[in-house]
């Protein structure tokens, strides 16, 4: 099995799509790092806070002046209307630092697009094989079909997780200079590092789950587009319609559980699933992925291969 898994990982990594993804991720994240560095600066937080208080006082004085003379019969003008008339210099009030502890939230937010990429990667891993007939060649070397399919799925999940780790590490590395040179490391203690590890760990599991689901659907549909189409239809129809009108069913849908699991917060807030624990959401998502892969393997076992 290790020969099959290693071979499939190498085949997948050699795919043009993966190379393009790595290149785009590198360029995009690198650019984000540079822009962040240029738009952050090491501020004196005490001076910023003093300046903010000063500006607030100046605004208040301005408002008070404007509100002293309402015309008879007219209501007092609201603050927003009056604000425009107050020309107060607000410079020096922005905290342009990038605290290191903010990186955990940024990495968590970056997980969402990587989950979508993982879905596509998983679907493409088997969809391209159906099209190029590499699956046929492989089956003439290893005819145990369940083994072949699960080996390929495992490879897709591993590559998706590795890509996730690469992208997250790259983003962390790209933002670190801004955090160190223009920010603060305050609050970056052991507990924060544990939080960060949780974000990355759960994200890694989530992208593997997404790759597995995409792979399973594309395997049954025999092409990548099937998985993308079904994924799109699922989000638009099932998540929106069922999720909106049948609130109780949300706990059995993917999106809410994904939000709970990736956020690491039980319930996951308004968009999550009330009462769902992080562990429960993770188990549900893994079970869906494994279940779909086993179903795909059962179909593949009986299917004719061209």
């Amino acid at each position: 099995m290790s020969g099959l898994l290693t071979g499939e990982v190498r085949r997948l990594v050699a795919r043009r799509m993966v190379k393009v993804l790595v290149l785009l991720a590198g360029l995009g994240i690198g650019l984000a790092g540079v822009l962040t560095f240029l738009n952050t600066e090491k501020s004196d937080i005490a001076a910023v806070q003093a300046r903010r208080q000063q500006v607030q006082r100046e605004f208040q004085n301005c408002f008070d002046r404007l509100s002293t003379g309402p015309r008879p019969g007219q209501p007092p003008r609201v603050v927003e209307e009056r604000g425009g008339a107050c020309d107060v210099d607000t410079s020096g009030t922005d905290d342009k630092r990038l605290p290191l502890v903010d990186l955990s939230d940024i990495l968590q937010g970056f997980t969402a697009p990587l989950v979508i990429v993982a879905w596509v990667l998983g679907a493409s891993a088997i969809g391209a094989d159906w099209q190029s007939r590499t699956l046929t060649t492989l089956l003439t070397w290893e005819p145990r079909r369940v083994r072949v399919l699960l080996g390929k799925a495992g490879a897709a999940m591993i590559v998706a997780a590795l890509f996730f780790l690469f992208a997250q590490a790259l983003l962390f590395g790209a933002l670190l200079p801004s955090a160190l040179a223009h920010g603060t490391t305050a609050g970056a203690d052991g507990s924060w590092y544990a939080t960060l590890a949780g974000v990355v760990g759960r994200g890694g599991v989530m992208v593997a789950v997404a790759a597995g689901i995409g792979f399973a659907i594309a395997s049954v549909g025999r092409n990548t587009a099937a998985a993308l189409g079904i994924g799109f239809a699922y989000v638009v129809v099932i998540e929106n319609v069922v999720g909106q009108f049948l609130e109780d069913w949300r706990r059995w849908l993917l999106l809410g559980n994904t939000i709970v699991f990736v956020s690491g917060e039980s319930g996951g807030g308004n968009e999550g699933v009330a009462g769902r624990s992080v562990l429960g959401a993770g188990i549900f998502l893994v079970a869906v992925s494994v279940g779909l892969l086993l179903a795909a393997a059962a179909v593949f076992r009986r299917r004719d291969v061209a």
């Binding site: 020969g3 099959l4 290693t6 071979g7 190498r10 085949r11 050699a14 795919r15 043009r16 190379k19 094989d129 190029s132 007939r133 590499t134 699956l135 046929t136 060649t137 492989l138 089956l139 003439t140 070397w141 290893e142 005819p143 145990r144 009986r302 004719d304 291969v305 061209a306």
Partner: protein, 310 residues
């Protein structure tokens, strides 16, 4: 023991609206060990479907396939290491080189890098072995497919149209390769539509038509069964010769304006010669009409008039 056995192999495909297409309709076949076995048939006769069933890529609707004694549907993994195969155009990872493609497959059977280089050399791909496969021509891909089939150093080779896409020189190389593999004691089971290649390469042959096996046996026996149809002769005045033979009650006709074909059994050669000599026409050449595999093939498959002459 036969290396390939088919017993009542049948394969149906269900189409929309409940229509069923029978691709293979009860084939019985036994391929003995050693030598080159040709698997012939016109397009759509069921050759590739049969090969797919043999290699476990398609599930038979009925009947059984055995490779090296193992049932293809249930026990193929026990013998697959001794079976090399090529089914139509090989599916390969286009971004990888030929060497890497082979090396990755070889890992499944712990095949060494030296063996990979040896088979690449044998199919003439050494110089381009490091180039990505996506840049390969059709013929190069086909050579690579043959290399994949040879990589396991197999006892049995199952090759589906291995000469597809090759230029004449490549076809000749494949013919020599197949013959040498057969002479090494391996069994080569090869489907082809190039009848002259099969005739030149194979020891035995099976002919398929409309999903059924219509003839099988040593190539010479299959040709003999088709039998010579008559005699081919030459005289100085061909038109007078045809007229003389007609007058003697023997059906005859001009053959490409260069010879006369007489539709009588070859053992009547003496009578033909005498009848012509009696009319002052002396035979300069007289031979039985040779029957090619193509003639037999077209006769058996019902796709031709059966009048080709080798």
């Amino acid at each position: 023991m036969p290396v390939i056995e088919l017993e009542g192999l049948r394969k149906e495909y269900r189409r929309l609206r409940g229509r069923t297409i029978v691709a293979v309709d009860g084939i019985d076949l036994a391929v003995p060990e050693g030598g080159v076995f040709g698997f012939l048939g016109p397009n759509g006769s069921g050759k590739t479907t049969t090969i797919r069933c043999l290699l476990g890529l398609a599930r038979p609707s009925a009947g059984r396939c055995r490779l090296l004694g193992a049932d293809s549907a249930t026990d193929l993994s026990s013998v697959i290491a001794r079976v090399g195969s090529l089914v139509e155009m090989p599916g390969l990872s286009p971004g990888m080189s030929a060497r890497t493609n082979l090396a990755l497959l070889g890992r499944l059977d712990a095949i060494s890098g030296a063996r990979v280089d040896a088979v690449l050399d044998r199919v003439g791909l050494t110089e381009r072995a490091g180039d990505p496969v996506r840049g390969y021509s059709l013929g190069m891909r086909q050579r690579l497919g043959i290399a994949i089939a040879l990589l396991k150093d197999p006892q049995l080779l199952v090759l589906d149209e291995p000469a597809n896409g090759l230029d004449p020189a490549g076809i000749r190389e494949v013919r020599v390769l197949l013959r040498s593999l057969g002479d090494e004691g391996r069994t080569v089971f090869v489907s082809s539509h190039i009848l002259s290649e099969v005739q030149a390469t194979c020891d035995r042959v099976a002919i398929l038509a409309r999903g059924r096996c219509v003839a099988t046996g040593p190539v010479d026996d299959v040709l003999t069964a088709g039998g010579p149809r008559g005699l081919v002769l030459k005289v100085r005045d061909l038109a007078a010769g045809v007229a003389a033979l007609h007058a003697a009650g023997m059906p005859a006709q001009l053959l490409d304006g260069a010879a006369i074909r007489v539709d009588v059994p070859p053992d009547e050669a003496e009578r033909v010669s005498r009848e012509l000599a009696d009319r002052g026409l002396y035979v300069t050449e007289l031979r039985p009409q040779e029957v090619s595999l193509e003639t037999v093939f077209l006769d058996l498959t019902g796709d031709g008039a059966g009048d080709a002459v080798a």
